[in-house]
Subunit: 459 residues, 2 copies
Amino acid sequence: MTEPLDPILRYVDEQRARFVDELVTWCRIPSISSSEAHAADMRRSAEHLRERLSRLGATSTAVIDTRLHPAVYAEWIVDPKKPTLLVYGHHDVQPSEPLSEWRSPPFEPAVRDGRLWGRGVVDDKGQVYIHVNAVEAFVRTKGAPPINVKMIVEGEEEIGSVNLDGLLRSHADRLQADFVVVSDTAMFGRGIPSLCVGLRGIAYFDVTVHALSMDAHSGSFGGGIANPANALARMIASLHDESGRITVPGFYDRVRELTAAERAEIASLPFDEREWLASVGGHAAVGERGYSTLERIWTRPTLDVNGLDSGWQGEGSKTIIPARAKAKLSCRLVPDQDPTEIAALVEKHLVAIAPPGCRVEVRYLHGGRPYLAPTEHPVYEIAKRAFSRAFGARTVFIREGGSIPFVRTIADRTGKPCLLMGFGQPDENAHAPNEWLDLENYHLGIKSAVYLYDELSRA
Amino acid sequence: MTEPLDPILRYVDEQRARFVDELVTWCRIPSISSSEAHAADMRRSAEHLRERLSRLGATSTAVIDTRLHPAVYAEWIVDPKKPTLLVYGHHDVQPSEPLSEWRSPPFEPAVRDGRLWGRGVVDDKGQVYIHVNAVEAFVRTKGAPPINVKMIVEGEEEIGSVNLDGLLRSHADRLQADFVVVSDTAMFGRGIPSLCVGLRGIAYFDVTVHALSMDAHSGSFGGGIANPANALARMIASLHDESGRITVPGFYDRVRELTAAERAEIASLPFDEREWLASVGGHAAVGERGYSTLERIWTRPTLDVNGLDSGWQGEGSKTIIPARAKAKLSCRLVPDQDPTEIAALVEKHLVAIAPPGCRVEVRYLHGGRPYLAPTEHPVYEIAKRAFSRAFGARTVFIREGGSIPFVRTIADRTGKPCLLMGFGQPDENAHAPNEWLDLENYHLGIKSAVYLYDELSRA
C-alpha cells in the first residue's frame, strides 16, 4: 500500500534543503497584519504565495481582497468524484517587537541547531508550506495530487480573523470540501503526532460593585457602610465551593463529562506538570477536585478573575472606603456550554448575590463557543494513520484550553470535520521573540501531508 | 456662683463684632503649610498671632521655630498654686484649591448668613481665637485669667504635625500643665455641645498574593493553576464571619466592650443616618451585627479594603491569569487595641491562610493607637458644665471614627487629660472649598472658654 508513494517521499527527501530555502524567502516578507505600515507587505506576501501556487499547476489561483488584508486561494481539481480537502492556513504574522531580544533578525530567517529562526516560520508560513510542498511533491512526481485540494490562506488570523466569516460566506461554493485540515497548532511534545480535538470557549465579563457616589473616609464611615471592595471579594470567593466547583446555578447543566476512553487517552500523555508550571513560574497545580491537571485545563470550565481595580493602588496608604470596585471575570467554557446562556446565568447570579448596600453591574463583553471535533468520523482514524506513518509514533488526541476563534468559524461555516493537525512545538515562541521551526518536524510534516492526501484518496 | 462672670460675659457681648474683625484680619494671611511658596506667610501668621497675644498681657510669648513652620507660644502665669491649662491649636490651614468653587475668595473672609466664609475660619484660626478672646475678656475686665493659661499653636497640623512630638519634648518644662484643651473638632450637630472622648486608631497594610512569575494565558492555564486574584478575594472574604466580625485570631482580645452608660449616651444622640449615608451617596448602613451605626463607626474595629490591584484593568478584555494580586487593607482600631500587636496578628493570619500555590507578602505601612479619654477624671464634668452653660444645652460625649494623630501625641507627651472641645459644625467644609464658621458658635465658644477657665479656677 505504501509502494506507490516511494517516489513522492524520495522527492520530499531530495528537496529538503530547497523547501527550507523557499520558506526562508517567503518569511523575509514582514507580513504583519496588525500594522498599517505593513499593508504593502501583506499584499507582497499574498502575491508571492499565489505565484508559487500557480507554478505548481493549480487549476485556479486567486488573491482575494477583504476589507483589510488579502487572502490567497488555490485549487487542484483532479477529479470531481474524488474527495476534496480544504487546507486552511494564514500568511500574516505577529509583530516582532521587542527586536532587541531576537538573536537573529526576525525577517532574516537563519538556521541554527536544526531549527529555522524567524518570525512566521512556524506560525503559520512553515505550516502552510508543509502542504504546498506536499502538493508540489505529488505534482512533480505524479502530475497532480491524488485528491482535489483547495487552499485558503488568510491574512488576518493574528488580528482575530476579522473577515474570515464573510470570506467563507461569499466564497461558499468555491470552498466546498469533504474535509478541512488546519495546520496552525502545536504537537503535544517532540515526536508526538497530535490531533487537537477540543477547544474551550469563553464568556468574558466586566463586573462593577457600586456602593457610594464618592470615596468615603475610612475613619468616619468604616464599619458602618458597605465597602464595595470587601463586597466584591466576598462575591468572587462565593463563586467556587470547597471542591473548586463553580457555584453559579445551572453552570454545569450542559457540561459533557469525559468518557472513560477520553480520560484514558489524556492520562496516557507524557505531561510534565513541573515544566508546565515552571513555564509561568507557578508553584502548584491546583483546581477542581477529581480531575487531573490536563483534564482541568482542557475539559473543565473555569471562572477566573482576570483583573481587579478599586480604590487606592499607589505607593503608601490612602484611608478610604472606595466608591466602587471592579473585576474582569471570565469563564472558559467546554462542550456543550453556550456562552450566551452562561453569560445570562452568571449575570443573574452576580446581581442576586450583591451584598446589602451594593449594586452590581455586569457587562458581558464577548463570548466564544467551545469546540469538540466529531472524532467518530472515519477521517480522524485516517489522519491518525497518516500522521503516525510519517513520525513513526502513535498519534494522540489532545485538546487546547484556549479558544481558536477561526476553528469555530470554519467548522460552523463548512459543516465538515475540521482536522487540527499541527506541526509546531509547545515552546516554539510563536508570539514571542525568537520564534523557531523544528526542521525535522517541517520535513516529517510534509510527509504527513503526503500520507494524508494518499490515505484520503483511498478512503 | 456666676455673679462675678457678668462683666466678662458682657465684654464678650460688646466685643462680638470686633472679635470677628480680628479673626478676619488673621485669616487674610494664607498660612498654607503644605506649600513651600507660603513659608513667609506661615511666619507672618505666627508673628501676627504672637503680637496679639503679647498685647494681652501674656507673661511670655515666643515664636518657636521647628524644622519647617513656626509655632507660637504664650503663657499667662497668674499664680503657681492655681491650676494650669494648656490650650492647643494650629495656625496653618489647608490649601484652597479648587479656587473656582469658592463663592468668595478663600483669603478674603466674608460674612454671609450669620457665617464667616474663608479658609481657616474654623480650622483652626477661629477656634484658636475663641481662647484668645476669652483670655482677652478676662484680661480687660479682671486684669488676668483666673488660672494659669498656656497656649501652643503649631504651624504643621495640616501636614501631619510632623514636628509636634519634638516640640513637646524639647519644651516639656514650659508646656507642663494640669489639663489640656484642644479646640479643633466639630460639635455633633447644631446646638449640641460635644466633648470628643474617643478616637479610633489604625493599622494599614499592603498585601500581595504572588502566584506566578508572569501573567499566564487563561486558556492554557485557567483551571489548573492558582489564580492570585481569586485567592486574594477568598482570603479577604474569609476575614469577616457572617455576623460581620473579623476572624483574625486574637483580634478582639483587647477590645473594650461598651458600658451600658456609654451605649445609652450614644443612643441618645440625634443621629440622622439617612443624612450621613447621603453625604457619600451610600445606600445602606451595614456592619457588625449587634451594634448601632454610631457604635460601629466610633467604637468597633474594622478591616476594610482600601484598594485592589490585579491584572487587566483597562477597557475590554485580556485573557490572563494575573501573576499577582494586591490589596491595601486597613484596620480601624479601638481601645485598647495596639497597632503593632494587631499588625503582627493580621500578618500572621494572612500568611497562614494563603491558598495552595500562592505566597502572601504583607507590609505593615503605618499605625496609630486609638484614644479613649479618662472621662472619670473630674475635669470632664467641669468641661461639660462650662460648655452647657454657654450653649444652654446638655453636653454630650461623642467619639470620632478617624484618628487625630496630634491628640495621641499630646496625650502621650503630657500625660494629662486632653479635652477635645470643638466648636465646628459637621458640614463646615473644613478641608473643602467654602469653609465657614458659624458666628453664633464662635460667640458661644468664647463664652464656653470663659466658663471653662472660671470653673477650672474653682476646681
